[in-house]
């Protein structure tokens, strides 16, 4: 959407007694909201997809039959990668107001729950397949994740 078009929408919002405009065209959507207290503060929300186009995964095409699990956890300079086995929404805690399952620096045991991935209204608890120190968490709470997406880095030597 062009800048001039966005400014036009903002002008319409400011000069009329409306709180919100949403315009959708050719797959792009833009929503402009006026601050409810009446200030001329305009917050522009551009509706984006939850997943950005990710760079392709370079996976070797072997003739070997693959299992249902993601590619074997690779060594990374940070540690072993724990990847998502399913498409869904990543949640860091068992419930919205609960403490996250893990945080960076934690010692992780095999079988320890790391996160929840919600798919089709089912909460799937993802358990760690390795033990070690949790180096980094690579997903954000309520983020959409895809198959084979790296979620955690665990250093088995840590």
């Amino acid at each position: 959407m062009k800048k001039s078009q966005i400014l036009d929408l903002v002008k319409i919002l400011e000069s009329h007694d409306i709180g919100e405009i949403e315009v959708s065209r050719w797959g792009q959507k833009i929503r402009i909201t006026k601050n409810l207290s009446g200030n001329a503060q305009n917050v522009v929300h551009v509706k984006e997809s939850l997943l950005s186009n990710k760079p392709p995964h370079f996976v070797e095409l072997a003739g070997i039959a693959e299992e249902h699990k993601p590619a074997p956890n690779e060594e990374n300079d940070g540690g072993t990668e724990i990847k998502s086995p399913i498409v869904g929404t990543y949640y860091q805690s068992p419930a919205p107001d609960a403490e996250p399952y893990v945080k960076a620096g934690d010692r992780i045991a095999i079988g320890q729950p790391l996160c929840i991935i919600e798919a089709m209204k089912i909460m799937n608890v993802i358990e760690s397949e390795v033990s070690g120190k949790l180096v980094k968490i690579l997903a954000n709470n309520a983020q959409a994740v895809e198959y084979n997406q790296t979620l955690f880095l665990i250093d088995p030597a840590g």
Partner: protein, 446 residues
């Protein structure tokens, strides 16, 4: 109105669906396995979600992953393409249960016509002529023997859940029956997860003629002409054309009436194909109905000037079929060659690998529907279709001349392709005369 479409497929048909969506201004979501991360449909879609490893069972056939991908991207419709989940009634139902529009007929229609034995019974009841065959599923060799004697040899055993030419065995005499029955069952079990069989009379030297129909959600059915698909190798179509050189105006009218009757009998909606066999006496027999968009849909698009994929989306959006469709005329002639990554000089051995050079043909009346490009690595996990080369001309002669030219212009290097085989068929005098039937390639000298 549908706001975003997820394409539950891959390869050339995924690209075809994306093209229709783009023209309608609808954003697209591609799903892909790890083997397809560099595929064209992933690049052309607005968004892409990796749904599993290379093997289809864990990716393109994994219903939960696909629905999940639709959820996280807020896609409100899914186009299943052909193959994979396109004719899976459970998947169509799952879409419905998750408030996702399934672009195709309803789950119950898919189920009804997907069971080939039940489809025959439904058609018979609707007064559609069917190939003489077994009334029920054949449970064992004893029943098979009885049925074959009643129908009269030669017979053909077919899988109830079958498609794509698999799970079929021809039986010419009783001594062959037992072995044919058990191997066919085994093939059906592995390919479709269902070993149930039925039996039909084998109509020899028949022509495979199918009719394209399109139904909206208001009970209107349009007849979009027939396609001749007799050029088959091991029950796999290699060359298709529209109209059929063997169908006269009168016959066409007959085909149209029967196909519409068949579609209305099951309250059909969206795109569908009614397949017939026509024997040498020009008797028409219902064989099966395919409740999906088909590989060879382009030849119908070329002779009707009608975009079948866009129409499927329009119908899913609740629009009625355009009025002009009720009185269309077939315009000219169109031929399609299915180009596979197979080596015709080595008994059609599959030839996966990297495409090192690629050049698509051009010029008047030439269309290439393909997902391959120079540098593309063909995965070994899926079918060998590289692309479809389609030509159109003012008559059959011109369509053939254009196909010959276009095949010569096409460059695909790095892998073996079926192009030399197509060239040989296009040059064949019997093919040029339109004088062939479904066993044509069996006796074809290459």
């Amino acid at each position: 109105m549908i706001e975003k479409i997820l394409i539950a497929n891959r390869g050339e048909i995924a690209l075809r669906i994306i093209r229709a969506c783009k023209e309608l201004g609808i954003p697209t979501v591609a799903v892909y396995s790890t083997a397809d991360s560099l595929s064209l449909h992933v690049r052309f879609a607005d968004e892409a979600v990796c749904i599993g490893p290379a093997n289809s069972q864990s990716s393109y056939l994994k219903q939960s992953q696909i629905i999940s991908a639709a959820e996280v991207t807020n896609a409100d419709a899914i186009h299943p393409g052909y193959g994979f989940l396109a004719e899976n009634p459970d998947f169509a139902q799952m879409c419905l249960d998750n408030e996702i529009v399934f672009i195709g007929p309803s789950a119950s229609v898919i189920k009804r016509m997907g069971d080939k034995a039940e489809a025959r019974a439904t058609m018979k009841k609707a007064g559609v002529p069917v190939i003489p065959g077994s009334e029920d599923v054949i449970a064992d060799v004893k029943t098979a023997r009885k049925a074959a004697t009643a129908i009269g040899y030669p017979v053909i055993l077919k899988a109830v859940a079958g498609g794509g030419g698999r799970g079929m065995r021809i039986v010419r005499e009783e001594s062959q029956l037992e072995e044919a029955f058990s191997t066919a069952r085994e093939e059906a079990r592995t390919a479709f997860g269902n070993s149930s069989m039925y039996m039909e009379k084998l109509i020899e030297k028949a022509r495979h003629i199918e009719v394209q129909i399109m139904g909206d959600n208001f009970g209107n059915i349009a007849f979009l002409g027939e396609r001749e698909c007799s050029i088959q190798r091991r029950h796999q179509k290699l060359i298709e054309e529209s109209p059929s050189p063997a169908v006269t105006e009168d016959l066409r009218e007959k085909f149209g009436k029967i196909a519409i009757r068949a579609a209305k009998a099951v309250n059909y909606s969206s795109a569908g194909t009614v397949e017939f066999l026509m024997d040498k006496h020009r008797n028409i027999y219902f064989m099966e109905m395919n409740t999906r968009i088909q590989v060879e849909h382009p030849v119908t698009e070329m002779v009707t000037g009608f975009d079948l994929l866009k129409e499927q989306i329009n119908i899913a959006n609740g629009l009625k079929l355009p009025r002009w469709l009720r009185k269309f005329r077939l315009r000219g002639h169109s031929i399609e060659c299915r180009i596979n990554a197979e080596d015709p000089y080595k008994n059609f051995l599959p030839s996966p690998g990297k495409i090192t050079a690629f050049h698509a043909p051009g010029g008047p009346g030439t269309r290439m529907d393909t997902h391959v490009y120079a540098g593309y690595e063909i995965p070994s996990n899926y079918d060998s279709l590289l692309g479809k080369l389609i030509t159109h001309g003012k008559d059959r002669e011109e369509a053939i001349a254009r196909m010959e030219r276009a095949l010569d212009e096409t460059i695909i290097e790095g892998v073996a392709t079926s192009i030399p085989f197509h060239k040989a068929i296009i040059k064949d005098p019997a093919f040029r005369a339109g004088d062939f039937h479904i066993d044509f390639l069996k006796d074809f000298k290459f």
